[in-house]
Symmetry: C2
Subunit: 445 residues, 2 copies
């Protein structure tokens, strides 16, 4: 672990801040030596995890932690339907897309069936969300002849060379591209009743104008419809409409980054963009797609991808391999069979209401917001002034970890608790989260 | 499938060229509609594969194809040790690198033990070889303050936005970066006895000079030590020395791309660069690392990665997940337990000698070369003039597929048969390859 403090990762482990005990200290030292200085751990006292089961992560002493943060294992850790699919397929065939096989075609049919009447016609597969956004950006450049990208000011879209250049949440020491423009995210809590949709549209229009003024042709507006890294901002439905029209008018594509909100997490639809009534040219997907098995990708319109397909073949050795496709099919089946979108809405609402009730006892809670299994809790040192309380937020995250509930923080001020439970969270588990937060807010003050 | 001919992929399926029968035609049409125009299939008559077993791939009618091309399933398809490791770990824990877990540390120890006395001290993990080369390039830019890249003229290093810009084998319609310079690969067969090491060093020096002349600071020389995409060119041991010294003297890094030659394929060492007695700053690895499970990464010196670790945290959701690490550990165990590096040398030599013997009967065989389980067979229309015979090469690849042996082609002239069997190929299977090639060369003339 790097001994410098990572100011851009709110919940990074900082060496020396607390005594983690000899076993953990030795493991961290071993890890630092082996993995080098760029890796980070979470929490003041990092966790050593050996087993996962439903919403639980378990350490070597058998202590159980309720994982309400990691949205990869969205069906719960080690969901048997996915484990079975992986084992069965891994023992039968694990190969690539230069041969015909059925699994990828079934997956494409199932995925495209989730976006009827959108014009999204093709599925292309990658290994990671970063690769998906990187490929989307390549496609957008070929389609538009431009390079300009517009993203929100604390966005995270990935870590490839191209995508890191439009991921401002990586921090000031990772340069943005000269062809990248940032627009403010729609922070309703700080907006004093302004018309957020109108403001967002105007900001995107100004960014388009500024790109052109510098001789840069716009390629794409890329938005995570839940503005997750910007602080979990479930903007009013329809908010994106004007901005999407603006980028299309300017000849650019609208890319919906569904890596975080996708696969039913909003409890309303399968995809976050669907609440805004907009039509993306490309939708990128990832994290929960294989419930842990590496798989991600994008859905695109025929128009978006036609020229790219003429210029460039696309092959990604591991992407679309039979095993990852089988895992993704099991995920889609499970979401449907277990009615998880509806469940996410119900338990998510219950959780959010429970957290909102705590605001009566805890003045630090400035705002509680979200949809489905997404809860953002903005902590402030002064409610009237809405002053971000980053230090309190870090303490609360760590006190909750000590109480056995795992979450993290996000947002421009690093002061928004990011609660992103698996879709299978039960009401009883939601009660545990609420109780732990109540205690953590009390002791962390 | 795109209806335009992909001139840059020698062995791509070209619609309409042969009658593939109604079942395959229907499956291709369904695939085209679902996956869009950028995907390619291999062979005149694409294969539908449903099962893999050792060196064999099996179609729905039970017909078996000897796979001497795909170097992902390097231990053989569905190797039980890897399948067991995946199943066991997927049922126990599949999570990321922001928690401590043992598997990634064991893997790092085992990987770094393969490169003693090189200064390579850290393992960083990615999902794909493309991500590995992309990350290596980001690290090189931060370390050197430069952007310039030097690669060989038919190199392939990956498909991300940044890496595609230095992957000339993607073809003329994918632009190279303005900061990219190409150098000729060491084609001994066409060199008329020239000193290839000296020539390669001089070409790299000229590229460095040209970058500087354009105000571009060199960041890296990136070389696949087997020059796989350039035509499988097992250059004389030590060939890279002068060029590596030149790039280091110029302040750039030497990146050894071991995605294709790595993990024992050369039958000499674990990594291809080791035959050249050079010291890479970064070594990228991929394809066979998980024998089908998505995992790739890089090993770097402390000096290369130090500044990157200060500027930027590195997190890749799926990379370094416990399941992929368990698969990679099983791969390393199996290479050792089954003595596969030695086996690759023995059976590889036997295979290469058998193919070389065919040259007595087939005037089209201009050159047979390789090391370990790498065989390149250069086909020519005129031995004296060494004229590349691309059309014959394509016919031979397809006749061999019809005879149940799967391989492909590569090289600048698209006229080099690329034989890259799994490390577990038996002598009996090598005999089948030689016999099929004998027949194919006879009927394809």
């Amino acid at each position: 672990m790097n001994s410098t403090i990572d100011l851009n990762m709110v919940n990074a482990y900082i060496p020396g801040r607390v005594d983690v005990g000899p076993a953990t200290a030795a493991m961290i030292a071993r890890r630092d030596a082996l993995l080098g200085p760029a890796y980070r751990l979470m929490y003041e006292h990092p966790l050593h995890i050996v087993r996962g089961e439903g919403a639980w992560l378990i350490d070597p002493d058998g202590r159980r932690y309720l994982d309400v943060y990691n949205n990869v294992a969205s069906l719960g850790h080690c969901h048997p339907a996915v484990v079975d699919a992986i084992c069965r397929q891994a023992a039968t065939l694990a190969t690539n897309t230069r041969y015909l096989h059925d699994t990828i075609l079934e997956l494409a049919e199932r995925m495209l069936a989730t976006v009827p009447d959108t014009g999204l016609a093709h599925l292309m597969l990658t290994c990671s969300g970063s690769e998906a956004n990187d490929l989307a950006y390549r496609i957008a450049q070929v389609r538009t002849g431009g390079t300009g990208v517009i993203v929100t000011e604390t966005a995270y879209h990935g870590f490839t060379d191209a995508v890191a250049k439009f991921s401002p949440s990586l921090g000031a020491s990772v340069d943005l591209g000269a062809h990248v423009r940032l627009v403010p995210a729609p922070r309703q809590y700080h907006a004093d009743g302004a018309d957020l949709a109108d403001r967002f549209r105007r900001d995107v229009e100004a960014a388009i104008h500024d790109l052109r003024r510098h001789g840069i042709k716009p390629a794409a507006l890329i938005v995570d419809s839940m503005f997750t890294s910007d602080g979990i901002l479930p903007a009013p439905a329809g908010l994106l409409k004007g901005a999407v029209e603006a980028i299309k008018r300017a000849g650019g594509l609208f890319i919906a980054d569904e890596v975080q909100p996708g696969f039913g997490r909003t409890g309303e639809h399968m995809w976050g963009f669907q609440r805004h009534g907009v039509q993306p040219d490309i939708v990128t997907v990832g994290k929960p797609m294989g419930n842990g098995q590496p798989i991600a990708g994008l859905m695109a319109t025929t128009d978006a991808v036609a020229q790219f397909g003429k210029n460039s073949r696309y092959f990604n050795t591991f992407a679309g391999n039979t095993v990852s496709c089988a895992a993704a099919l099991a995920v889609l089946d499970t979401i449907e069979n277990e009615g998880l979108v509806r469940h996410a809405a119900q338990v998510g609402t219950f959780l959010r209401e429970g957290v909102a009730e705590l605001a009566g006892r805890h003045a630090a809670i400035g705002d509680v917001r979200g949809v489905g299994m997404f809860v953002g809790v903005e902590l402030v040192s002064d409610r009237a002034a809405r002053t971000p309380d980053r230090e309190l937020t870090t303490r609360v995250v760590n006190r909750m970890r000590d109480r056995g509930v795992l979450l993290s923080a996000c947002g421009m001020g690093h002061n928004v608790l990011k609660i992103r439970p698996p879709l299978v969270l039960t009401a009883e588990q939601a009660v545990m989260v609420i109780a732990a937060l109540d205690e953590a807010l009390t002791t962390a003050q």
